[in-house]
């Protein structure tokens, strides 16, 4: 069964550093998403991406964050100048015809900011 692949599985970074989280969505999917989950809290929407541009973003997704699809397969989330409160599990997801058919999530990247 096709999978969404995320790397790395765990990243530790110093406060103020930049991190790039990587995702390979399912190849024929058109919609891509980033969500995050702070430990013990709910899954929160960050951003959605379609047709090579951001289609929607949440209040969390401020100027500190950016997304890119640098080639035909990868989808990245960059966090500039990380803060302690950015520590969370970050999930990438993709869907084919939009959210009506369910999202396929990756296994996540656990980001720890120290």
């Amino acid at each position: 069964e096709p999978e969404v692949t995320q790397t790395p599985s765990h990243q530790v970074t110093q406060m103020g550093q930049e991190v790039i989280l990587r995702c390979v969505p399912i190849s024929n999917h058109l919609y891509f998403y980033w969500y995050r989950q702070i430990l013990g809290q709910k899954v929160e929407f960050l951003v959605s991406f379609y047709n090579n541009e951001i289609s929607e973003k949440s209040e969390i997704f401020d100027d500190q964050f950016s997304v890119e699809r640098p080639d035909g397969s990868n989808f990245t989330l960059k966090i500039r100048s990380t803060k302690l409160e950015d520590s969370a599990m970050y999930f990438c997801a993709s869907s084919d015809w939009g959210q009506e058919y369910g999202y396929t999530f990756g296994s996540g990247t656990r980001l720890t900011v120290v």
Binding site: K42, V43, F45, G102, Y103, G106, G108
Partner: protein
């Protein structure tokens, strides 16, 4: 403001019984609702989608109902097994936008 409410208390049931989880929402008129399963440290896994014009949807041992008048969905697992132990999330699209998730209900099935 829009809210999705799921029982934050864990649901403990005996193997073989039916588990029923509730999702209530306010200030939404969703065209559909989805249910996901999440295991610790893992991403959510899509289980079922039910549309506003569908009262009930079934998939193997899973059954979902959707009452747009009550603004509620019920998620049932029949003949529950210890392997069904997980957190179950309901998710709604606010006005056709990306899915918003509830905080989930943890289900523990005792052998």
């Amino acid at each position: 403001s829009q809210k999705i409410e799921q029982n934050s208390e864990a649901l403990n049931i005996q193997e073989g019984k039916t588990a029923t989880l509730t999702c209530n929402y306010t200030n939404y008129s969703p065209a559909y609702l989805q249910w996901y399963r999440q295991d610790p440290g893992r991403g959510p896994v899509f289980l079922l989608l039910i549309r506003e014009n569908e009262k009930e949807k079934r998939k193997e041992r899973l059954k979902v109902t959707f009452d747009t008048t009550l603004k509620q969905s019920l998620f049932h697992i029949t003949a529950s097994q210890p392997a069904d132990s997980a957190t179950y999330l309901c998710a709604l699209p606010p006005a056709g936008r990306a899915l918003t998730f509830g905080s989930g209900t943890r289900l523990q099935v005792q052998p």
